[in-house]
């Protein structure tokens, strides 16, 4: 029986790897989901073979979990995907942390050294990462949902306090590894891990969310992986390691896209510092109406649309699809330029635009589209700011200097839909807005794009 379960686990592990492999293209991606589901079903089925105790508990938990999970999957609007992702990081980490806790109390009293040495090391890593990811992810979710202020929260000696707290948690962990019978220490250790998760997320601002979400993804995976070592279960090790490396790669990509290091994201409190920079002079800019904007677009032969988080906030994706269709019908070439950190999680813009039925071959990554801006008639920026700021290329004193940007300023005409002239998340003024070829379109992204669309057909008849 045991060897049967082992074989099932091996197939399940292979399916998980295939599942991620098939995510390399939108053509095979849905097959990837199917492989993942099959792997999970096999893993659960295999585990249930030969375990006949407390069925009623297991069944009830499966029922409740499904009853919560199904509505979440179908009701959740695509604009809320970052929040949902943060919440599921919290759920996954919670499961790992609680299993670790249960294992600790279950095995510890026997004192037959079953829970010693490396197993205890793995258990401490599991619970530490698990608990801090639970509260960290809940904080991230609160900030994304704007229940909590999305601006970074900082206070004096923040990093010092965090470091001290983390050190104490580690020391308690080490003590527990050496003397597992010191059970009183465990709740303190777990509590400190929970508190540390909150403190870690306090100074994180909205623009840093893509990196942090990816990092929390990695932690949740590593926690499950550590659980595999505690239970001597290789399937858990494989699945956890896959998740851990996925989160790691995504956070590295995000960091590169902001030209920042991990430590800088976690301890830098970017937005807060820059927000204090005051602008000294009023500079001149040109603004235009929807009618004028429609005229400019109609005269163009190629248009690149640059979406940002503002698009998600305004829920403008469907209106943008109407604009896209309307321009394409006129034979105008329309593409979308996607910056890796546009939005609040990796790939956020792609999902929103795909939801609005924009074909994915029109969504072009930064490195591939930057060469096209000089030949492009109109670049239309919707709800993006810092990722278009030419200061990142030229101004060495700018806090975003060195960050890879979309070369919007090289287009023949630039149009920017924006609520007002107020600076973006990083609090940095954007030179793009003051260029001679830039037209500022003031208003809500959804409403303004709608007005442009309305202007367009009228002009066809004229």
């Amino acid at each position: 029986m045991d060897s049967l379960v082992s074989y099932i686990y091996i197939i399940s592990g292979a399916l998980f790897i295939l599942s991620l492999k098939w995510m390399n293209s939108p053509v095979s991606a849905r097959r990837g989901v199917f492989a993942g589901e099959a792997g999970m079903l096999l893993a659960i089925g295999g585990t249930l073979i030969g375990h006949h105790h407390n069925w009623e508990w297991i069944l009830a938990a499966f029922f409740i979990g499904s009853a919560i999970g199904v509505p979440i999957a179908y009701i959740m609007p695509m604009t809320a995907v970052p929040q949902r992702t943060a919440m599921s990081h919290a759920c996954g980490a919670l499961a790992a942390a609680l299993v670790g806790t249960a294992e600790f109390y279950q095995r510890q009293p026997r004192a037959d050294s079953e829970l010693s040495g490396f197993v205890m090391v793995a258990l401490i890593i599991e619970t530490l990462l698990g608990f801090l990811t639970v509260t960290g992810s809940l904080m991230a979710m609160g900030k994304l949902q704007e229940i909590l202020p999305s601006r970074p929260m900082t206070y004096k000696n923040q990093n010092l306090i965090n470091a001290v707290l983390f050190t104490i948690a580690i020391l308690l962990g080490v003590r527990l590894i050496m003397v597992p019978t010191d059970t009183v220490l465990f709740p303190i250790f777990a509590g400190l891990s929970l508190v540390f998760g909150v403190l870690l997320l306090l100074p994180i601002g909205g623009a840093d969310m893509p990196t942090v979400i990816a990092l929390l993804n990695s932690y949740a995976g590593l926690s499950a992986c550590a659980m595999g070592f505690v239970l001597n279960n290789h399937l858990l090790v494989i699945a956890g390691a896959l998740d851990g490396s996925s989160g790691l790669i995504l956070s590295i990509i995000m960091c590169k896209a902001m030209n920042r290091s991990f430590t800088n994201v976690l301890f830098g409190a970017f937005g807060q510092i820059q927000a204090s920079v005051t602008r000294t002079e009023q500079r001149a800019y040109r603004s235009a109406s929807a009618e004028e904007a429609a005229a400019v677009l109609e005269a163009a032969s190629s248009v690149i649309i640059v979406p940002g988080y503002g698009l998600a906030v305004a829920q403008a994706q469907h209106k943008i699809r109407e604009l896209f269709d309307s321009l394409m019908k006129r034979g105008i070439d329309v593409k979308f330029a996607i910056h890796p950190v546009a939005g609040r999680m990796p790939g956020h813009m792609n999902v929103l635009l795909a939801e609005a039925d924009i074909p994915y071959d029109r969504l072009v990554e930064m490195d591939d589209i930057n060469g096209e801006f000089p030949q492009c008639d109109v670049a239309l920026v919707i709800g993006a700011n810092d990722v278009t700021n030419p200061a990142a290329r030229s101004d060495k004193t700018s806090p975003i200097y060195g960050m890879p940007i979309l070369d919007v300023d090289r287009a023949r005409t630039v149009m920017v839909i924006k609520r007002s002239m107020s600076p973006g998340f990083a609090g940095i003024d954007n030179d793009l807005y003051y260029m001679d070829k830039t037209l500022m379109l003031f208003g809500d992204a959804k409403a303004f794009v709608g007005e442009i669309v309305k202007e367009l057909p009228a002009r066809v008849g004229a």
Partner: protein
């Protein structure tokens, strides 16, 4: 014979390298669905939770913690796979439209 720990570390090392190589090839277009898919897969902790709860001499504490853990993990599995599929269904090429 290598110990369980050694085998475990081998598995971990190999799985990490496979993960890094496979994930690197994922199109940035699909980074959001990728994250919800890996999320669902990391809910494999449900296996650990089942083992804890179905232990013959599981204490009440173990049962309660295991119960919450299974609920949380199953929520992730169900919502994770379903929402990933829902997202992927939306990614269409021009010629496939409508």
């Amino acid at each position: 014979m290598p110990s369980n720990l050694e085998i475990g570390l081998y598995v971990f090392m190999l799985a990490t390298f496979v993960g890094l190589e496979v994930i690197r090839k994922v199109s940035p277009l699909l980074h959001t669905p990728l994250m919800s898919l890996t999320n669902a897969i990391s809910a494999i902790s449900v296996v650990g939770a089942i083992l804890v709860i179905s232990n013959e001499d599981a204490t009440t504490l173990s049962k309660v913690l295991g119960f919450i853990a299974i609920t949380a993990a199953v929520t992730n599995i169900v919502s994770g796979f379903l929402i990933t599929d829902r997202m992927l269904k939306m990614f269409k090429k021009r010629e496939e439209k409508r």
